[in-house]
Symmetry: D3
Subunit: 324 residues, 6 copies
């Protein structure tokens, strides 16, 4: 993949205007309030694996509309007192996967709560998921989840997903092994988009790890990249032609730019210069709007794999320092 | 595409055992009874196009669970008394499209009712759809509709679709311009699968036009073709590994083989010998089980385009004779 | 497909210089005069389909050099007096297809004459053709028709095609059911390019419907798109290297820009912003040169499917008003 | 490419029935007689290249219907008396290419006559051609040359090509530097198919070099391979559906099996076991029908590249022995 | 991917003849003896990551010819006495990756030694490697490693790799935290092929975990699959045509069938029925030759991803029982 | 392929700054001096082919580190006294191929020495090679040869290749049939990059023929093209992330820009405007830095096939004039 977006020096200053609906905050506070009417009802069932260093809990809780959302809670065994917890949100198409694939944070002495993305994970060979999205949306949808319910913010798929994600923080806070004051949100791609949103909607978290975030700067994204999943939106618009204004209005309630502008906790971002799934200008646009302390790792030769394991090592060091 | 399935002489005799659940008929009669609790509530809104030879009605009705399903009803203008009606079900990914694309049957003096497939049509450039599937299913799903709710017959997507399709026949019957005693079901690929099902579930129809039907002989299909949409099921099974028995049990309630074995009205089938989307053995399997009068057009050099417009001319002649 | 051409505001003003040979008009008047030496000899054979609302004629006539060209003439049955007629020219690779696929205009009370493009239609699954191009061209050709005879304007394939298309208007005019004063030319892609040419060469027509036209602004097209069919020309130039000047001289006699500059009847254009087959700048270039009354529908999220059925509805309304 | 055709031991015995029209020989003798009515009119224009070891002639002659066919005649300079000559026919899509690419036989002391295939060579980057097929065929055609005129043996493209090829032998015989009694025909793929035909139609030649021949055993070929150019025929049949019998009747006049059964001169064949363009069973079918002395080189790990330069070395040795 | 290999019931009995050179054992004992002349010289450098549950050592040692091979040794912190150790060999193209990606076995109380495959890992985005293969081979090679040195068993790439892998077991044995009597070899695909070899060459290990093994039953593999990496061999044979016998002789020293026939420790295999990279018949061929206690997990709907995390859970349970 | 690089008028002036290490000349003089310690030891074995116009020698010599490098020396038979010689270097992935494919220069009265590129040619169907690169490099490598040893100039693959190529000139000079004062270097793509280097490192040569050179202006190339082989470097950098500075430092010793700036002999270049393998700006960058007399052929409609046989004819004429 060659370079295709703005050069790095312009990216560092790229801070586009945001399209923010007047009732953005009201929309989200009402959404969360509505969700709060359902008892969180977290369940933590010990998962039977011959592991000795951690306790694994097959976890579920009542997300948006009380729908059950699955997760793994993995806690280092033998800690003295509650430990910090990392919220792990998942990239597009994946689910929570296997508990034994999420042992990095526990090996560092932290708990991790790995949260399914509702409806996803049914065809992802490496990280299967187990959670339904029982609400099918009130309009037809292109394959994938990007356009489910996209004609109305109240009906849009990511309203449910972001709400689940915020509720999941409460799940972590509720567990006796977790120190509710030291929770960090994290994720890459879709997971990064979710982490951005949760950091804005649940400002009590202590930090955010946002890698090559998706769901950010939608308008530019759909205009400069020909790859999925952003193209799901273009395919929808190519047939549901009268709906473009409606679609972009809906997306304005979910755009990472608007969440980033509300981000006040310390954040570690990453961006890849050859990323044609989540183009670097869409990432820098969010980063440059972020209000809190922030750092960004630039990977000059990478596509959407972004920082991968290299970034994970950066995160281990960043979190160690942040929570020290 | 080379030939890849059984040779034609063996296909003509290929009549595999069927996997039919004991409560197949009960399942469907209960399903339809449950749907019948919702008032059909058809609406027929004149659609404003400068057409003079037909009346076009933007139609909707209460399908499964009362969800609104969209359709086009197109009636030749100036007929004396009610006319026969062709039910047109749609191929995978498409919707009812444009009214002006469905003028063949009206030009032959019949009405046509073109029925949306719920949830589909949002990315199909030539035949967009406008109907939601508000029920999202109780398990995660692979992109596409094949695996939505596939872990339980009661929750499976095609339970809702087939029910909508049966209800649509009632919509046609209810319209004063339609002769309720002369209704023919039709469709290609997914539409052919739906037509097979409706012919079994609503045996009062007068005939069935079934082209290269999909949703038929699932087990063989997923084993011999590597193409979508059957592969959606394989991708699901590749991650939701414990669910194969459950999945095939669900599918047995929806398999075209079991509907074909209940088909008693005259039927015109078509099959394409190089069709690697709906392999010819899966089509002949259904055809050979069909109980009514039947004919099949074999297209020796075609893939899934099947008979296309050629077959449409066959159908015009077949229906003219059938209803004469 | 992302946006790749000029932004819309610049497109609206993009009116490039044209490369027009001095004898452009002479070339075409001589060409048409030469064709006129062959008796038009139209034949209208009733086509046997059980349709009751229209009369279908399997039509042919003497095109360029007297070669027989096939067409469908479809006339609404029972009209009082002659009706207007839409000329339908076909997109690249297709033929006249099936009569029952062209019932929109007849349902609106107009006749339609659907004209084969000589030599095409032999591998198009949805709209097969039945007309030969008996003249093979005096130079080798790349697969496809773009480079047949491209070394000499007199030998170029589209000289024959455009001549056939003009002659087809005479065929329509000659039929008693058609009102020769109310003929509208139409087509998409290649068909749009043909319609542009006929509107200039047969200025007695009443209007033109030009969708995402091909064969327009060749020089820019071959430089900014990597897709067929424009790339057929590039592949030819890549081997027949000494011939570039000759090739572009030939193309200047056939470039839609030069026909558009002679277009004086009312025209309805369409353009798609993500069209990388017929890039939007090549379409606007022609539109901005058009001399008559004109409107253009801009489809912001579409590729070469352009307006499809949506545009067809626009056309129905536009023609109804035009001929009112 | 894995093995996909019959195993080698069965191939060695694979000698299928041939479908031969009763008037096969009459068809060809009349065709050649008709061509003979045109004066051969060979021209040999010295081609200006700074080569010192050979004389290069830009050659042309009157092929079928007197159309000019281009060729290169390359003769080793300084030979004492006439030299043997190899006829080189070209693979599909290519033309005679560059004179300096055909120096192998001259370096071995033989002349070579490299014959354009009419209409081809306009998009082949390595071997461009320069010869037109002025006859366009009397039916529409799929892109490529396989279906040009395929509805009538008299109109079929390869009738002209094979006639040109036979006439080319006369051109070689006519040149004073060539020993008319020692002419060998050769070619790979399409060129191999042509060489087979010429060996049957011009039995005075001394031998044939036939590599991975195309145009052989059409019926089986179109059924077992999904690759071009055989697929051009399938694409034609997929739309021109009523024409299958006609098509196969036409092909029976051109099938390499029928020419091979008339081959009486010594022949060196080659075949590649993983060739999915010209499957090995189609090659062995011809080879096993060949009547003359014969050898075949089997390349077990190759696709359609066949023997390439390795086989060329085999040919050099074979011809040296043959003409010794 | 459809099913393409033998059906399961025949696979369970598929035990083909093996092609084993007479000096197979001598070859390997000499190879290992030669390697043993180099001091193993393991180094264990603590790797600085903020992990608290494990000790990570950036490890290297002298492999074949004394070349330095890199590895991660990860040991659960705080164990009482030496712990068992799992040898982890890597799939084709990958390297040892990131230490934090290999925490499953340590979380189960075992050490893990993750061994680089020399020369690989330089383009694998998820598991980069850091080890050179300083020996370039004595013949040209196709891209990839499959044909490096393939003309001579002594020069073949996998001679060095398998030797490195056996030496790595000694590295594990040498570390004080590891219980040298409880070492289990493991790997998938290429790693499974290596594990098979090590289990035969180092029979003191306690067990083997072999997933969808590569490098097994070469002759059948190259004949029935068209996918890489087996196709690297075909591409080599397609040009280095005189070398086929030499190549297969070389491969006979490295074929998993011959190692499996020497496997005497308990083994857990896995196989995927739709695996067209390492076809199921090649896997069962080895499994059916294995001499020790054995179990095999069959994944009916999977391609080369095989068992993935599901199989990893099987392995955790199997090893817990094995070492109990 | 559309145009994608700078327009021609800007290319003609594009002369970017070069990144040249201070010890560039020292590095190469030491490298060549080191190589010179090995006896050249050329061997010329007559190759048995029934060719009469040339003498073919299967040639080898001691290249870098004394490794044997293979070549073809082909000399026109019967010349009076020594003849000029063209050095032919080979494009990426190919080897010296077949002697009978290199007869153009001999037919023009010159010898040709066709030099294998070590390690390449094992999967190139048209020009197989036969030379090993016994030095495997001291770091892992991405498939292909671009990154073998890329972490150190002394270890980089092209250090060995360029040294072999310079040594090959000495081989030509050493043969009695060759006129050592009239040697011309030539090649396309990789071969062009080698020829540039040799012209700078062996300034006694009489001229250079450089077609669409690869290995030139690395930094820009990897940023603007997404195609191989330049992308091999990007894939390496995408995993070996800490090494970018090291990699570009290594490449600065091998960049064609730095060799071109030292080119003082007459040179004939070629460039293709649609070449996305070796983009035109990278070619012009070198051409514009070349210090000697120079000409460039611009192919406006070609991709990386560049001038092909057309350019070969230009070369024949250029060389004839140069050596006249």
């Amino acid at each position: 993949m060659p370079l295709f977006d703005l050069p790095l020096d312009r990216l560092r200053e790229y801070r586009p205007d945001r399209d923010e609906p007047a009732d953005f905050d009201a929309f989200w506070s009402e959404t969360l309030a509505e969700a709060a009417e359902h008892d969180l009802a977290p369940s933590f069932t010990p998962y039977d694996l011959p592991l000795t260093a951690v306790d694994v809990y097959d976890t579920s809780f009542a997300g948006w509309a009380g729908h059950r959302i699955n997760a793994w809670l993995i806690v280092p065994r033998g800690a003295e007192g509650p430990v910090p917890c990392v919220m792990q949100y998942i990239g597009y198409s994946g689910g929570r996967g296997f508990a034994h694939d999420h042992l990095t944070w526990p090996a560092a002495g932290l708990a991790v709560l790995v949260v399914d993305t509702r409806g996803q994970g049914a065809h992802n060979l490496t990280s299967p998921g187990a959670t339904a999205d029982p609400h099918g949306g009130l309009s037809p949808q292109a394959p994938g989840m990007m356009t489910r319910g996209i004609l109305d913010p109240a009906d849009y798929y990511y309203r449910r997903v972001f709400t689940d994600a915020v509720r999941a923080v409460e799940v972590a806070e509720s567990h006796p092994a977790v120190d509710a004051d030291r929770i960090v949100v994290s994720g890459g791609s879709q997971g990064g988009g979710i982490a951005q949103a949760v950091a804005a909607l649940r400002p009590s978290v202590k930090g955010a790890l946002v890698d090559v975030p998706f769901l950010t700067h939608f308008r530019r994204a759909v205009e400069i990249t020909g790859r999925d999943p952003y193209q799901e939106i273009v395919r929808f618009l190519a047939t549901q032609r009268a709906s473009a204004d409606t679609v972009f209005r809906t997306l304005s309630y979910f755009d990472g730019l608007n969440f980033a502008a509300r981000g006040r906790v310390p954040a570690l971002y990453s961006v890849a210069m050859m990323d044609d799934v989540c183009p670097p200008s869409t990432v820098f646009a969010a980063y440059n709007h972020w209000q809190g302390d922030k750092e960004i790792t630039v990977w000059p030769w990478n596509n959407h794999e972004g920082g991968g394991g290299f970034q994970r090592e950066e995160q281990l060091r960043y979190v160690a320092k942040l929570l020290a």
